[in-house]
């Protein structure tokens, strides 16, 4: 049978996806905390972006090349780079969504046994991905175009709106809809090689860990560079001197190769509108055709791999292991389960490894910024704040301590191990990871000269105690609200309200402790009181709040735990 796109089938498939989406918002399924957290984060991101991008734009427009102002070229460069960043972000998200929707979604298996052609399924899934991308596109394109509009000098408005405001705002709306199409078209081509790499790394856990950790570290380094530029911007005109003749020449050359961002910017600024519009259209059509042609083979191969249980990777022959204590066996089980599940490995081990780097990068920016702005050294307070903040984010993983066990939680219940051993093995394992991460962070802070050895030891101690409190709380909270995965591989694919709650609480506590010590130090500094008094108060406040939080968390963890454990029938499977 020829595989044609059946649009009535596509409509049915979209209806099914809509129903599934709606069920996520029904009472009992709706993650209100996560929803509002995401909303706040997006609002915060947009606000910060508009402020800093606006400031950057006004500096960038005032740059002179060969002694002359050239707002027209600056506009073109800024818009090209901005659209390119949006397209890349959407493409990265698109590849991820495509892998999830086309290769990993459970319904694919079901559809393979139904008269649903791969092309119809592909189109339905693409439309669903497009819907998701559209939201992000609207937020980012509007943020960029509004900020550019607000910051372009009045005399250069003609360069921005060569055909009048209606054209500029009309094109802004059009770009919101077109950018996801471009990114999805590119993503559909990249999905296959990405999937091949994923399959290759599937059972090579150590290699995957190294690659993923290195890439994340690199991403954070890039983030630190951006933060550094933000700092320069806040501190004065240093940034303006950074964009000298050779840098501007380099930007000009780079912009030439930044397609399709270049085409979009040229289209908007009326620099060869027809030519660039046609180029965009051609790219869209070519990508769509290639994607439709190759998707059948991709999906069939992916499906066969899933039905046969994934790649049959031969492990070296092993014999039954030497006896180890029950507690050791439980700890080892925790490690194996996390290390061999790529998403868990990334969210916990990679983040824990990178945490010292994140603290260091942020410290580098914040320390000099605060010293320059206030004139005093706030390193201890900043080190505490950043360490607690990043620990809180790392330990969020512990909010799946029970849920990720899945149906095996019941099997473990039937084993001759006490509830104390089961729960404490999870806590000790997480604490060990946290301990290593906090120790390296303290060493880095001391090694980089931000804090003396005594302060580094204090940061380490508080970090560990704070982590212990969060791990205990998160574990019990997850126990009370456990939701086991019903996926074939038992993996938790979407974070629920438990994760959102632990993120919010962890960050609130980190802000409470970090914020209060920063505030106290600031007040002491403004009053010109002795720095040592502020230091003692810092130790007292941080120690006090952390100990109280730890005591409360421990109480929450153990309160009626025995009864709860033996009476447990949650998780949604029984």
């Amino acid at each position: 049978m020829k595989d044609k796109i059946d649009f009535s089938l596509v409509k049915t498939l979209l209806g099914k996806q809509r129903d599934e989406r709606r069920s996520a918002y029904r009472k009992g399924n709706f993650d209100a905390v996560g929803f509002f957290l995401r909303l706040i984060l997006v609002a915060l991101f947009v606000a910060v972006f508009v402020i800093f991008f606006g400031r950057f734009m006004s500096i960038y427009f005032s740059i002179r090349t060969r002694g002359l102002l050239n707002v027209r070229d600056r506009l073109y460069e800024a818009l090209t780079v901005s659209y390119m960043v949006i397209v890349i972000s959407l493409t990265v998200g698109g590849v991820g969504s495509m892998i999830r929707e086309l290769f990993l979604a459970d319904d694919i298996k079901l559809f393979s046994a139904m008269p649903v052609g791969p092309r119809s399924l592909f189109v339905a899934k693409l439309i669903s991905i497009y819907r998701k991308q559209l939201l992000l596109s609207i937020v980012t394109v509007l943020a960029v175009n509004i900020t550019v509009y607000l910051n372009v000098p009045a005399e250069a408005m003609g360069y921005l709106m060569p055909k009048g405001p209606w054209f500029y705002w009309g094109m802004t709306v059009l770009f919101c809809f077109v950018l996801p199409m471009v990114s999805i078209a590119i993503a559909s081509l990249l999905a296959l090689p990405y999937y091949a790499i994923r399959q290759f790394l599937q059972n090579r856990y150590a290699l995957m860990f190294i690659i993923v950790t290195a890439l994340t570290a690199l991403a954070f380094y890039a983030y630190a560079v951006v933060l550094g530029a933000v700092k320069e911007m806040l501190l004065g005109d240093d940034l303006k001197y950074f964009f000298n003749e050779s840098v501007m020449h380099g930007i000009g050359v780079a912009v030439y190769y930044l397609v399709p961002g270049k085409w979009l910017a040229r289209f908007l600024l009326n620099r060869g509108m027809l030519e660039n519009g046609l180029l965009m259209l051609a790219v869209l059509i070519v990508c769509a055709v290639i994607a439709l042609l190759i998707i059948r083979s991709i999906m069939v191969r992916a499906l066969q791999a899933r039905i046969s249980g994934g790649a049959h990777f031969m492990y070296p022959k092993r014999y039954i292991g030497d006896p180890r204590p029950q507690f050791g066996a439980l700890i080892r089980k925790e490690f194996v389960q996390i290390f061999r599940t790529p998403s868990y490995m990334f969210s916990y081990f990679s983040i824990a490894v990178i945490m010292p780097l994140m603290v260091y990068f942020c410290m580098e920016v914040a320390s000099s910024l605060v010293t320059k702005l206030i004139g005093y050294n706030f390193n201890l307070e900043l080190a505490l704040f950043l360490t607690l903040l990043f620990s809180a984010l790392t330990n969020v993983f512990c909010s799946t301590n029970i849920s990720r066990e899945g149906p095996m939680f019941y099997s473990v219940k039937a084993l001759p191990v006490s509830y104390r051993q089961v729960i404490s093995s999870k806590i000790v394992f997480c604490l060990f990871v946290s301990l290593a991460s906090e120790f390296i962070t303290a060493v880095v802070l001391f090694g980089a000269g931000y804090v003396p050895v005594s302060a580094a030891a204090f940061v380490f101690l508080i970090g560990v105690v704070f982590s212990f409190a969060q791990i205990c709380f998160a574990t019990r909270y997850d126990f009370n609200h456990a939701r086991f995965s019903t996926e074939d591989d038992g993996e938790i694919k979407e974070s629920g309200s438990t994760v959102s709650t632990i993120i919010v609480l962890g960050m609130l506590l980190a802000f409470l402790i970090g914020g209060s010590v920063l505030l106290i130090k600031l007040l002491y500094t403004l009053r010109s009181a002795g720095a040592s008094s502020a230091g003692y108060l810092t130790y007292a406040i941080v120690g006090g709040i952390t100990l109280v939080a730890t005591a409360l968390s421990c109480f929450y963890l153990v309160f009626r735990l025995r009864r709860k454990y033996y009476e447990f029938s949650g998780g949604g499977l029984m």
Binding site: Y315, P316, Y319, I320, P323, R324, K333, Q337, R340
Partner: protein, 247 residues
Amino acid sequence: MKGPEEVLRIRGLYKKYAKNADWAVKNVSFNCYAGEIVGLLGHNGAGKSTTLKCLEGMLPYERGEISICGYDIKRQPMDAKRNMGFVTDNHAVFLKMTGIQYVTFMADVYKVPEDLRVRRLAQLESVFQLGDAINNLVSSYSHGMRQKVCMMGSLIHHPKLWILDEPMTGLDPRTMRAVQDFMRKYASMGNSIIFSSHALNTVAHLCDRVVLIRKGKQINDINVKHIIAMNPNFDFEEYFLSHEGQD
């Protein structure tokens, strides 16, 4: 004269899943003696798996008493659990472990000494025939292979009571036969086996006794071996269907 050793004792077991729900298990009572194979029969949703989960300690129950080798599952859970091995209906195994890692984990949890675990693994490998696949990740296993590794893990400590929920599901005929032979051999060593199943022929040929459950209520406890010995033409399927349908 001392009678056969009582391995499992269930008295007046009541279990419900929610406060206002109907009883999932209502007044179930039976014993299981050393050397005996007991089958638990009933239609889908009759309460077989719930009964087994209660006696494994997986699920709490409202009323009743369960003791394994004289140890009460509520008051002395560790001692009771040390004397049993279980195979769940969903073949729950740690998917990210290899087969051998899973068996090692179970051996560690049941504190099986080194020499015994090596010897028992060799015995179990000859029964379940996983071959080199035991070195692969459990996530790559078929349902039948998961079932096999689950059985191996449940037997590594040589439990006095072996509990199996739908053990034959997903097994190939050769393994099914091997498992049945092994069950007989295992029971003849003075151990006790209780399992739930829908396969009436398997139950009739394998079990010494059968407990019939309907809508959570125990409706009969019959000595199959005795009945078949008395009446070689006894049609177990007919018997089950007539009793299972009765109110």
